[in-house]
Each structure stands twice: as structure tokens, then as C-alpha cells.
């Protein structure tokens, strides 16, 4: 981020344009950071669900429904990051 700020400053843009450039760069970070937690969470969740389905195939339907619910809740965090990315970056 520091290096990018220096690079932007060196291009000799106006203050508004520098701000836009900084926003564009930090938007990427916003989404990237927001995706870490849900990524781990969804991986763990689906892994456990597959384990449960393999142990008890007759409960697979219920496990799958619950898995989708869990994914939906976990994924929301990443999606909020994506919305922030849209808001500040584009």
C-alpha cells in the first residue's frame, strides 16, 4: 500500500485523482481480506458435511439442506466485502 501511494504521488495527479487511485487499490484489499474467513469457513463446513453424509448416507438430504443454509450464512460475509469493493472501487 505504501509503495502504491508513493507511485501514485509520483505520477503527479491532482488530489482527487490520487484519492480515486488509492480507493481503487484498497478496494482489491477489501475484497481479498473479506474472502479469507468465509473461504476457510465454507471449506470446513462442506468438508464436515461430506464426512457426515459418508458416515450416514440415509441422513444425506437433511445434511445437504443444512449445509446450504450454513453456506448461505457464511458466504454473506464475503459478499458484503464484494459490495464494499463495488462501492469504493468502481
Amino acid at each position: 500500500m505504501e509503495a502504491f501511494a508513493h507511485l501514485v504521488a509520483a505520477t503527479g495527479l491532482t488530489a482527487d485523482e490520487q484519492k480515486a487511485a488509492a480507493a481503487a487499490s484498497s478496494a482489491g484489499f477489501a475484497y481479498g481480506l473479506a474472502a479469507i474467513g468465509p473461504g476457510i469457513g465454507i471449506g470446513y463446513l462442506v468438508g464436515k458435511s461430506v464426512e457426515a453424509m459418508a458416515r450416514q448416507p440415509e441422513a444425506a438430504g437433511m445434511v445437504r439442506t443444512t449445509m446450504f443454509l450454513g453456506i448461505a450464512f457464511t458466504e454473506a460475509l464475503a459478499l458484503i466485502g464484494f459490495v464494499v469493493f463495488i462501492l469504493i472501487g468502481l
Binding site: 485523482e17 480515486a20 468502481l90
Partner: protein
């Protein structure tokens, strides 16, 4: 929105960031005005049209489309279920008929077996009787033949004894000049033959 312009001159690279206003996007889609509200602000016209069409659709579904479809589905399921039940009943009836037929078949088979056994027993008895008759006749004939043979043998023996007695008396007469009495000769011959 920024555009990065990269200059490559020999070994040095310079980057220029230049603000870009709408250019290069016109060819993509018919955009009205790039300076309009941000991408996550809902637009009233879309909201109104979306809401209207969904509400109409949901009401139609609730009061007309779904009940009609569901009625057909229920009717068919009911039909299928009753068809299943009648098929089950028919199957049971057919099974009962089969059982009845099998019972009749078994009875007839038993009857047939009994008749065959009776006939066989009668046959056995008749055969035994015939055998007994034949055997009795055979033994009677055999004993008659035996008696005949005994009689013939005794006659032959008497003839031999008479002849031997005659020869022996003759031989004694020649040797002693006196004829032994017939009684003595006969007794002697019979003693010898009996030995």
C-alpha cells in the same frame, strides 16, 4: 475510473494513470448517462416493475395456477393409489383361486392314487390265487407221477426177486439135486435185496 497507460522505452517503464470518462464504454451497451446513481442504489422503475410482476405472479400462483395443478396431481395420485389397491385385491383373489384349484388337484390326485392302489391290490390277489391253483395242480400231478413211478419200481423189484429166486432155486437144485422150497428161496432173496 482510471486507465493505466504503460510506456515501454528500451529498459525503462513508466506508468501514467489517467482518468477516463466514459470513453471506450459506449460501444458496449446503450448507457444513458455514466454519471447516474451508483450500482447498488435501487431504481424506482425497476422496483416498481419487479414488485408489480412478482405480486401478480404470486397471487395468480396462490389462487389459480397452483390449486389447479395440485388438484390434478392429487387426483392422479389418488387414482394411482386406488388402482394399486384394486390390483392388490385382484392379486389376492387370483391367489385364492389358485389355492382352490390346487386343493382340487390334490384331491383328484389322491383319488387317482387310491384307485391305482386298489387295482394293484386286486391284481395281486388274483395273481396269488392263480399261482396257488397252478401250484396245487402241479404238486398233485407230481405226486401222482411219483406214485406211478413207485408202483412201477415195486413191480419191477418183484419181477427181479421172482427171477432171482427162480435162478437161485434152479442153481440150488442143480447143486444139491434137491429143490429148496419156494418159500425159503423167496425169503432169502428178499433178505438179500433188502440189505
Amino acid at each position: 475510473m482510471l486507465a493505466a497507460v504503460v510506456h515501454l522505452e528500451g529498459t525503462s517503464v513508466t506508468v501514467h494513470l489517467t482518468p477516463m470518462e466514459g470513453e471506450g464504454s459506449e460501444e458496449l451497451a446503450g448507457v444513458t448517462d455514466p454519471k447516474e446513481p451508483g450500482p447498488i442504489i435501487p431504481e424506482l422503475k425497476e422496483l416498481a416493475w419487479g414488485a408489480g410482476s412478482f405480486i401478480v405472479f404470486a397471487l395468480l400462483m396462490r389462487f389459480f395456477l397452483y390449486p389447479r395443478l395440485k388438484k390434478g396431481m392429487d387426483a392422479r395420485y389418488h387414482g394411482i393409489r386406488s388402482a394399486h389397491e384394486s390390483a392388490d385385491a385382484e392379486r389376492a383373489a387370483a391367489r385364492a383361486e389358485v389355492a382352490e384349484y390346487e386343493a382340487q388337484l390334490a384331491a383328484i390326485k389322491a383319488e387317482a392314487a387310491r384307485k391305482v392302489d386298489d387295482a394293484r391290490a386286486t391284481l395281486e390277489a388274483e395273481r396269488a390265487a392263480a399261482m396257488a391253483d397252478v401250484n396245487a395242480e402241479v404238486s398233485a400231478q407230481r405226486s401222482a407221477a411219483m406214485a406211478e413211478a413207485e408202483a412201477a419200481k415195486a413191480a419191477v423189484r418183484d419181477q427181479i426177486a421172482a427171477a432171482v429166486g427162480d435162478v437161485a432155486g434152479r442153481a440150488g437144485e442143480l447143486a444139491t439135486g434137491r429143490r429148496p422150497s419156494d418159500d425159503v428161496v423167496t425169503r432169502v432173496v428178499q433178505e438179500v435185496m433188502a440189505r
